[in-house]
């Protein structure tokens, strides 16, 4: 599986260490919250609201440079709107990889 990176964040920060720290702090705070909300909707089989969570998570997937994962998330979001959760485990893997990476930053 592809590995996350901070290329986008580094480019954005333009050597501004404070800003980089700020973005990483936001990642560390927002990502687990968004994942928790997503998991709650999946647990309650509310796939429409789960799709909205996936939509929001796509931004962070792209920020971490996970290009292939972004397309999986995009397909998963569309599928959820049709009440199809087939890509759930693939998406969970992406979330796990992201969380592991963010926790090490």
């Amino acid at each position: 599986m592809e590995k996350p990176n901070t290329n986008y964040i580094d480019e954005l920060a333009e050597n501004d260490a404070d800003f980089k720290t700020k973005i990483i702090d936001i990642l560390k705070s927002e990502l687990p919250q968004e994942i928790e909300i997503y998991n709650n909707f999946i647990s309650s089989n509310d796939l429409i609201n789960a799709s909205l969570c996936v939509h929001k998570l796509k931004h962070k997937i792209s920020i971490l440079g996970l290009e292939k994962s972004y397309y999986i998330a995009e397909d998963f979001e569309k599928n959820l709107r049709k009440h199809n959760a087939d890509l759930h485990s693939d998406f969970n893997n992406i979330l796990t990889v992201m969380m592991n990476f963010v926790n090490q930053l």
Binding site: L12, I23, E30, I48, N49, S62
Partner: protein, 240 residues
């Protein structure tokens, strides 16, 4: 140009804010995580440009624009590529940027904002329920949005939610934000069809998909039911 950022994701706001900080002709005067907060601000402040997310928890970006009289120039910033065509329906939307944003792309949008002539002499919120009737033969009411009277049929109305000084009218077709109170609209809705199930929610009881614990599912909205209203709701149901 005075600009504001409306996005429920802190990450997005931080990124846009950082990128625009180096632009000489722009001043970010406020950031909002909620469209409702932004509405109040727009009522009292001159804003030249809005950077607006489409999918937010309270309202969509499109609902937000529709609720404004003379909306300022707006750049949509979203992770969704699928609404570009819808965006063309709104004169105020001057650009559509898909996340992740690049500085070059954002500056290009700002350049467009500079070139496109001003269309917003004032920014006030005036929508209100001008004619909401539940008289004998009528099955609709009208809301006034940007000088247009928009018909809402009772059949299409799913949920009305109070949000501060506004109500959010959710129908099968579109959602609308109206400057009004839940009490005003409640008085206009037929009581055999609609029920106030919570201090902030009125629902169309015919649109209930299921009821679980202290909430009902209507469309994709999970609406809370307060303990005091639950008995009234249960009375309306044709239970087996």
């Amino acid at each position: 140009m005075n600009c504001i950022i409306i996005d429920d994701e802190e990450m997005a706001r931080a990124i846009i804010s950082k990128m625009l900080a180096s632009h000489d002709e722009l001043k970010i005067i406020q950031e909002f995580s909620s469209a409702v907060q932004a509405m109040k601000f727009l009522n009292q402040n001159q804003v030249d440009l809005i950077f607006l997310d489409i999918h937010m928890d309270d309202f969509t970006g499109f609902d937000f624009i529709q609720s404004l009289k003379n909306p300022p120039k707006t750049v949509l910033v979203t992770s969704d590529k699928n609404f570009a065509i819808d965006a063309f329906e709104y004169e105020c939307i001057i650009d559509y940027i898909v996340k992740p944003i690049t500085k070059e792309r954002l500056f290009k949008a700002v350049q467009k904002a500079k070139v496109i002539p001003e269309t917003t002499p004032e920014t006030t919120i005036t929508p209100s329920i001008t004619k909401a009737v539940a008289e004998d033969n009528l099955n609709e009411f009208y809301i006034n949005i940007d000088r247009r009277l928009i018909k809402i049929t009772f059949d299409s109305l799913n949920v009305v939610e109070a949000k501060g000084d506004y109500i959010h009218i959710k129908t099968d077709i579109k959602n609308h934000i109206v400057h009004s109170t839940l009490k005003k609209i409640e008085d206009k809705l037929p009581k055999d069809l609609f029920l106030k199930v919570h201090r902030s929610f009125i629902i169309n009881t015919k649109k209930i998909i299921d009821i679980q614990d202290n909430s009902v599912l209507i469309g994709k909205d999970v609406v809370p039911v307060s303990r005091s209203n639950r008995a009234e709701l249960m009375k309306k149901l044709n239970l087996l």
